[in-house]
Symmetry: C2
Subunit: 426 residues, 2 copies
């Protein structure tokens, strides 16, 4: 036998084996979902107290504020104080809203399109094209807002220390239609990457052609650590102010992955002028947020130590799931050329890079075997991953045994897809 | 003495007396607020149960929906069923949102400006001027949304049976920039007027120059009766469909004045196509509403009978306040030429018409005596009441004794202002 024939035979045997394993996987009739960064029921149980708070007699907050009645557009002062540290801003520069920080981001953009920011000569919608810089891979829901309103998106590569800052500086300085940039500065979705202090300072200090340029600073995972190392980042609001661009950053966060995913609090922080602007825009929109839910959160979380303690309990539940996925990927995929994955120190996602041109196929194979993954491409503007490589893995929702099964299944699909396209494991 | 001198003397004596009474009123140092339609603490107490619901173990709704987690953009099906009758639409055409129906109205308009409705050839914002018809007196917060976005407002007079429908038909048919009309069809703010079935049918059937014309049907007081007569109105959605304009009406309501003013539920109902449109617009905005609060409401209100029973308890608290105001106005103001007031069968307001050119002065005098009233003019677009006559009285928030004091005070201020402008009581 020639060497080539021997290789062919071994390849054939390997294919057969993979196909056999895949048939067995399908036969299990699994129904697993790794699509979205949803907390598990066990995580939601950690905030069970919220479900009976505040109690029938407990509704008077500071200043005799009846939390049941109308008013209080900026949110309860107790809630603003509670989250001031996490938001990196004094309580008077924090807005506590209803249950969705995505809604705050959407509304800030809609308000800017309709009315302009406090630094705009006119509404964005009347200044011609609006463009946003989009670090990729990134969060599909950010991109969806841009798509909805015809905002042009320019992809910028994510590096180990954040977006390619040289490219960002070059673009922002040269194109006045660039009005915004999506940033997830800590434990970014989906890569888990954290922006370095240097990158953050350059974002704060860079020259922008648009005087009303905004960083949409989605600090969704501010306190969502997965290791003993509590990664901290530079304070974007302070740095923007220091460099003479006090209004540059809109900071967002929420308690969706601290307390209850659907019934938490959306948070906003910015310069005083930006806060005045947002409250002015919200004045015709609403009489005020649900202060009663804010009051529940104040009573439940109490203070920053309360937030930290709760986040430790989340970590105890989800860190083993991340660990398990990483172990399985290491075991099964280490030998696949072109396959790699992030090892996040926090957040909700692992970003899996598969061999070029394989991501869609992996997702398809997984789906056929009952494992639902975020559509390939979702991590890129327009749903188009030019290399068809990135798959977002969200391990928090299923239980540990299911996560292991799902990760094994995904790894198998990667091997199969790689084999189909001629990049089998070595 | 001549007759004239005798009249002058009597007039002088009357003035002296009024001024003395006003000085005494000021000396009381009252601090009363009749500005906004806020429920009183006693009304909020009726929903005290909500403050401890659902309880730590109760979070699974129909279809194993975990109400604590993400999702469910249209709202819990149980909540949509609960309010279907009140909204006059099947549950699948109801959207249950967060705590503010004003926010739903605002957002519908913002979405239409940015994207157009499902019947629009283009975004309203790209079709030139946008105009709304505004029955007056009306609700200041409706007008504020129009002001915010530069929507031209055309005032239409309110009659006993609703807006001047002939004028509405004439305007809507002739001007394609007229894209919307504010309507509070039942117990309207501030007049308490209810649209007749005939007016409602003509609104549903009329020809409009704009194919994407919308009735913003704010049925805020759908179940908010003040008498034994539960006024019912024609079903706008059914009538619009019958006349071939199925998408014409956006119906809004909320539980702000059923359960908790700041922590209730905002409600939307419309044609299937409109609901699809709204959900498509909300998809980039939010992952879903606070289902946990919807679940609380389902557990607390239970069914329509639960809503009726609760509204009876509200009525028991607030009807006497309305009665007291009306008695005092009758006693003090019946003899003032040009003074009149509405006797609402439901809702939250009494509309007081004072002699021409007196409204601002009455509000000023009242304020100086510690009684805060809604600014004169607020009931008209741009805050401009051309005759300076309409004052909105909101008697629900203070307790009964305070309401009586405030009404006495307001009546005195009307007498004084009328005297100043030469229309004294006869």
């Amino acid at each position: 036998m020639t060497g080539s024939t021997s290789q062919d035979l071994s390849r054939l045997a390997q294919q057969k084996e993979l196909q056999g394993e895949y048939a067995a996987l399908k036969a299990k009739g699994m129904k697993l979902n790794l699509t979205r960064g949803k907390p598990s029921a066990a995580q939601l149980d950690l905030s069970a107290e919220l479900l009976a708070l505040p109690g029938a007699e407990n509704f008077l907050a500071e200043g005799a504020t009846d939390v049941r009645n109308y008013g209080g557009l900026q949110g309860l002062v107790e809630a603003r104080r509670l989250f001031a540290g996490m938001m990196g801003a004094p309580a008077e520069q924090v807005v506590v809203a209803n249950n969705s920080s995505l809604e705050l981001m959407h509304d800030c953009i809609a308000f800017a399109l309709l009315k302009g920011t406090c630094d705009s000569a006119a509404a964005w919608g009347r200044q011609g094209e609006t463009t946003f810089l989009c670090p990729v891979p990134g969060y599909d829901r950010h991109f969806k807002i841009c798509e909805e309103y015809g905002i042009r998106m320019i992809s910028v590569a994510m590096r180990e220390d954040g977006p390619d800052i040289g490219e960002v500086e070059r673009l922002a300085a040269s194109d006045a239609s660039i009005k915004g940039m999506w940033c997830m500065p800590k434990y970014s979705n989906p890569t888990g990457i954290t922006f370095s202090d240097k990158v953050i300072e350059r974002l704060a200090s860079m020259k922008t052609a648009a005087p009303d340029f905004r960083l949409l600073w989605d600090n969704a995972y501010a306190v969502h650590h997965l290791t003993d190392e509590r990664v901290e980042i530079a304070n974007i609001l302070e740095l923007c102010a220091k460099h003479g661009h006090a209004n540059r950053a809109f900071v967002f966060a929420s308690t969706s992955k601290i307390t209850l995913a659907g019934a938490g609090l959306g948070l906003f922080a910015a310069s005083k002028e930006n806060v005045r602007w947002l409250l002015a825009r919200m004045t015709p929109q609403t009489i005020g947020p649900d202060k009663l839910n804010q009051w529940r959160h104040v009573l439940f979380l109490k203070n920053e130590a309360g937030i930290w303690a709760l986040m430790e309990r989340h970590r105890a539940l989800i860190a083993p799931k991340f660990q398990k996925v990483l172990e399985i990927f290491q075991e099964k995929l280490a030998s696949v050329p072109g396959a790699s994955w992030t090892k996040p120190k926090g957040g909700y996602f692992i970003s899996l890079e598969v061999p070029k041109g394989c991501a869609r196929r992996v997702v398809e194979l997984a789906q056929d075997a009952g494992i639902e993954l975020t559509p390939a491409g979702a991590t890129h503007p327009g749903g188009k991953d030019p290399e068809d490589r990135t798959i977002r893995i969200a391990p928090t929702f299923p239980d540990l045994a299911e996560v292991a099964q799902a990760a094994e299944g995904v790894a198998l699909c990667v091997l199969l897809a790689a084999d189909e396209t001629g990049t089998p494991a070595t």
